[in-house]
C-alpha cells in the first residue's frame, strides 16, 4: 500500500495546547494521579479467605442446577430446547420417551411419571465447555435448568467436570434454600 493510496484516510494528531506543549503540567498531572491511587483503598478480594460479594445471586450465572418439582422429581421434560440454544454444545440429553413404546407396537408401558410425555434419562453438562452464557436458562420452558451463584468450581480431571443428572440435582438440593426457583419467586 502506497502512502498516496486513495483508500487511506490520514488523520492528523490533535494540536496540543500550551499546557500540553509545556509538558510540565501534564507531567505533574500524571504523577499526582498515580500517587493518589497508591494510597487509595484497594479493591483486591483475598480469595479464598474472602469471598466475592455477588450483588444478586438470583441473576448470577454460575454452575448449573436441575430443579426438582414438588414431588422431588426432576422438572426437566427433555424438550432439548436448552441443548439447542447452547452455543457451546455442552449439554447432552438422552430422553426417555413414553410415546416411542406405543408407536413401535409394543405394549403401552406406562412411563415412570404418567403426567409427562418425556423425561431425561441422562442429562449431562460439560462444565469445561460451558461458557456460562445462561441461554439454556432462558430457553427452558419449565424452569428446570437454572444457573446458580456458585462460581468457583474445580475438579481434578476432565471427567470429573462433566456433571451428570445426579450431580446437577444435588446442586439444586444445596442451593434451593438460598436461591429459590424462578417460578417460586414473586
Amino acid at each position: 500500500m502506497k502512502p498516496d493510496d486513495r483508500n487511506i484516510t490520514w488523520i492528523q494528531e490533535p494540536r496540543l495546547g500550551l499546557a500540553g506543549k509545556s509538558y510540565v503540567l501534564l507531567f505533574l498531572q500524571g504523577l499526582t494521579t498515580t500517587l493518589l491511587h497508591v494510597f487509595r483503598r484497594k479493591l483486591t478480594v483475598q480469595s479464598p479467605e474472602q469471598r466475592h460479594e455477588i450483588p444478586d445471586p438470583l441473576i448470577y450465572r454460575g454452575v448449573h442446577r436441575l430443579n426438582r418439582d414438588e414431588r422431588g422429581r426432576v422438572k426437566c421434560v427433555a424438550c432439548f430446547l436448552c441443548a439447542t440454544a447452547c452455543p457451546a454444545h455442552c449439554i447432552d440429553i438422552v430422553a426417555a420417551d413414553h410415546r416411542d413404546h406405543v408407536a413401535h407396537g409394543a405394549p403401552a408401558v406406562p412411563g415412570p411419571w404418567p403426567d409427562r410425555e418425556k423425561y431425561p434419562q441422562f442429562f449431562t453438562i460439560d462444565e469445561l465447555r460451558c461458557i456460562f452464557c445462561g441461554m439454556c436458562e432462558e430457553a427452558c420452558p419449565v424452569d428446570a435448568i437454572e444457573l446458580t451463584s456458585f462460581y468457583d468450581l474445580s475438579g481434578k480431571s476432565r471427567e470429573e467436570m462433566i456433571f451428570d443428572k445426579q450431580k446437577l440435582l444435588s446442586v439444586f438440593d444445596e442451593t434451593k434454600d438460598t436461591e429459590p426457583m424462578k417460578s417460586k419467586r414473586d
Binding site: P3, W10, Q12, K21, S22, V24, L31, T34, V38
Partner: protein, 426 residues
C-alpha cells in the same frame, strides 16, 4: 599483604550479594507499586514455605529465582547459538562491573580491622577507590550494555526481537549524548571525574548540583530514564507492541540475566543521579562534609545515600505508570532537538559561570552559591520556555503525498504542518 587483598574482596562480596538481593527485591517492590497504582494489593502471599506465615509476600523473589533456575534450559533451533549465549552474559557483566566505581557510602573509620593489619587510612566504600577516570569508566562499561541488547535481538532470529534490538540501539546511542552532556557540567564544576570527589565537592559547597545546575539535572535524568530503558522510554521492550522485545526468545536463567541487568541499570542510574546531582551521602546539618568520620556519621552517610537512591528508584517505578510511552519519532526528537541543545546550554552556562561567576555574584551582592542557583533555575526556565514556544518535537510522521502521484497540480503540503484538510479529501 593479606589485608590489601581482603579489603577489596570483602567490598566486592558485599556489593555482589547486596546487588543481587536488591535486584530481586526491587522486582517485588516494582510489582507492589504497580499493584498499588492499579488499586490492587500485589504479591502478598509467599512467605515461609510449608507454614502459614506470609511476611507480606517477602518470599516471592526467592520463589521467582528458584523457578527461573529450575526452568528447562531450552535453546530455540533457529537462533545464532554463540551470540544467543553471549548476549545475556555481556549485558549482565556490564551491569555488574559498573558498580566497581560507584560509592555506596562515604568512608569507614579504619578501626573496623584489627590494628595489627596496619590499615591507617579511612576505608572508602567503593570497590575500586581512587580510580581517577571513574565517570569515564562508568560510561565506557555502561555502553557495553547496548551490545547485550543488540546481540540478543540479532541472535534470536525473530523479527520482534530484531525490531526491539534495532530500536534499542538507536535509542541508547542517541541518549548517550545528553547523558554525557549532563555530566560534563558536573565534572566541570567539581573538577574531578571521581564520583567520591564529586560528592565531596557538593558536600563542601553545601549546594547540591541539582540546585546549581537544574538544567543539567533534567537532561541527565531524562537521559538516564532512556538509558535504563524505563517507561516512558521503554521502546526496546514495549510489551504491547513487541511481545518482549529483544528478550522474546529467552527463557530460564538467561532471561533472568536480562531482567536482573535491567534492574541493575535502573539502580545504577539512580546511584548516578543521587551522586552527581542530589548530593550523594550529604545532607545539610546531618552528615558533615569532611573525610574524617566517626562511626555514627559513617553509618548515617550510608543510610542517607541509600534512602536517596531508594527514593529515586521509587520515582522510576511510579513514572512507569504515570506517563504514556513516547512514539519512536518523538523519542528521537526529544533526544536530538531538546535534550542535546539543553545539555549544550547547560555546559556553556556552567563554563561561563566558573570563569566569571564570582565577579557576577559580587556585583549582584548575593553569595556565590545563591546566585548560581538563581542563574541555574533562570536558565532552566528560559530553556523550557524556548522549547514550549519553538515546539521542536512536534513532528509529522506522515509520508509526503507527492502532487504528481495524486494528479493534483498544486502542492499544498507545507513542509512543517503536515497534510492539511485539503489533502485529506480523497
Amino acid at each position: 599483604m593479606l589485608p590489601l587483598i581482603l579489603e577489596p574482596l570483602l567490598k566486592i562480596a558485599l556489593l555482589i550479594a547486596g546487588l543481587m538481593t536488591a535486584a530481586a527485591y526491587l522486582v517485588l517492590v516494582e510489582r507492589w507499586i504497580a499493584a498499588w497504582v492499579q488499586d490492587r494489593l500485589g504479591p502478598n502471599r509467599v512467605g515461609i514455605p510449608l507454614t502459614k506465615i506470609r511476611l507480606f509476600g517477602l518470599g516471592q523473589p526467592i520463589a521467582d529465582g528458584v523457578k527461573f533456575l529450575f526452568k528447562a534450559e531450552f535453546t530455540p533451533t533457529h537462533v545464532d547459538k554463540v551470540l544467543y549465549f553471549v548476549a545475556p552474559m555481556s549485558i549482565f557483566m556490564a551491569a555488574m562491573v559498573v558498580f566497581a566505581v560507584i560509592p555506596f557510602g562515604s568512608v569507614l573509620p579504619p578501626n573496623i580491622f584489627p590494628a595489627s593489619w596496619g590499615i591507617k587510612e579511612p576505608i572508602r566504600l567503593v570497590a575500586a577507590p581512587g580510580l581517577d577516570v571513574g565517570m569515564i569508566y562508568v560510561f565506557a562499561v555502561g555502553s557495553i550494555a547496548v551490545y547485550g541488547v543488540v546481540l540478543g535481538g540479532w541472535a534470536s532470529n525473530n523479527k520482534y526481537s530484531f525490531l526491539g534490538g534495532l530500536r534499542s540501539s538507536a535509542q541508547l546511542i542517541s541518549y548517550e549524548l545528553p547523558l554525557g552532556l549532563g555530566i560534563i557540567g558536573v565534572v566541570l564544576a567539581s573538577g574531578s571525574l571521581r564520583l567520591d570527589a564529586i560528592v565531596s565537592h557538593q558536600a563542601q559547597a553545601g549546594v547540591w548540583n541539582v540546585l546549581a545546575q537544574p538544567l543539567g539535572f533534567v537532561v541527565f535524568c531524562v537521559a538516564s530514564f532512556a538509558e535504563a530503558a524505563r517507561l516512558p522510554f521503554d521502546l526496546p521492550e514495549a510489551e504491547q507492541e513487541l511481545v518482549g522485545g529483544y528478550h522474546t526468545e529467552y527463557l530460564g536463567i538467561k532471561l533472568m540475566m536480562y531482567l536482573v541487568a535491567e534492574f541493575l541499570h535502573m539502580v545504577t542510574a539512580s546511584f548516578l543521579i543521587v551522586i552527581l546531582f542530589l548530593g550523594g551521602w550529604h545532607f545539610w546539618g546531618l552528615t558533615g562534609s569532611s573525610d574524617v568520620v566517626t562511626w555514627p556519621v559513617a553509618v548515617l552517610r550510608v543510610i542517607v545515600l541509600l534512602v536517596k537512591v531508594m527514593g529515586v528508584i521509587l520515582f522510576f517505578m511510579l513514572a512507569r505508570w504515570s506517563w504514556p510511552r513516547f512514539r519512536y519519532d518523538q523519542l528521537m526528537d526529544v533526544a536530538w532537538k531538546v535534550m542535546i541543545p539543553w545539555g549544550l546550554v547547560n555546559l556553556v552556562v556552567v563554563a561561563v559561570w566558573l570563569e566569571y561567576g564570582d565577579h557576577l555574584a559580587r556585583w549582584v551582592g548575593l553569595s556565590a552559591e545563591r546566585s548560581m542557583t538563581a542563574v541555574g533555575f533562570g536558565v532552566l526556565f528560559l530553556c523550557w520556555l524556548v522549547a514550549v514556544i519553538a515546539d521542536p518535537t512536534r513532528g509529522d510522521n506522515h509520508p509526503r503525498r507527492s502532487a504528481r502521484a495524486t494528479g493534483d497540480a498544486e502542492d499544498k503540503t507545507p513542509r512543517d504542518c503536515g497534510p492539511g484538510e485539503a489533502e485529506m479529501q480523497p
